[in-house]
Amino acid sequence: AQSVTQPDIHITVSEGASLELRCNYSYGATPYLFWYVQSPGQGLQLLLKYFSGDTLVQGIKGFEAEFKRSQSSFNLRKPSVHWSDAAEYFCAVGVHEGRNQFYFGTGTSLTVIP
């Protein structure tokens, strides 16, 4: 069965430090890959997505993610975290197997300390 794994439930970083959030997927072919962010009390917002081409994709708010086929990973990174980045981050995949299916990871909660 297809799945999306975010191994880190919660991460704490200092403001200005770099960030990497991990995401692994289980699927036979390359799925379409997404990162969403959810601020408290809000719905999810797309940060970036990958479906082909350059394996390093740039998103909004200074985020980027790298697709590594050999590791079935799509990790999210940011070189310098801002306090406003504190939120819940979800990795998601879209696959087409007869019909479209969508899977979200369990999320990683990010705390930023001053």
Partner: protein, 114 residues
């Protein structure tokens, strides 16, 4: 600025009562999703529609939940009768038909069943 809207934003009800949540997708989007988010289960896909037809409702408890799209501008999720375990935040999202397409999330309906 096109957005998905959801009503009500908050709902408190008593066990056994009927609850109806409404969603207005972004104009031009032909796919609508319903998700439930809880601390224990994370984000769960309940159902999704394309061109107003249900494509997948396998995540939805059939005995008490029902989802419909009376027209292209309105999606509804109904719970009858409601139970305390239904307490959660329910999100509606809309998008285009492909597995590679972004989903645009509404702000959610926070449901509390006493």
């Amino acid at each position: 600025d096109a957005r998905v809207t959801q009503t009500p934003r908050d709902k408190v009800t008593e066990m056994g009562q009927e609850v109806t949540m409404r969603c207005q997708p972004i104009l031009g989007h032909n796919t609508v999703f319903w998700y439930r988010q809880t601390m224990m289960q994370g984000l769960e896909l309940l159902a999704y529609f394309r061109n107003r037809a249900p494509l997948d409702d396998s995540g939805m408890p059939k005995d008490r939940f029902s989802a419909e799209m009376p027209d292209a501008t309105l999606a509804t999720l109904k719970i009858q009768p409601s139970e305390p375990r239904d307490s959660a935040v329910y999100f509606c999202a809309s998008g285009l038909a492909g597995a590679r397409d972004e989903q645009f999330f509404g702000p959610g309906t926070r449901l509390t069943v006493l």
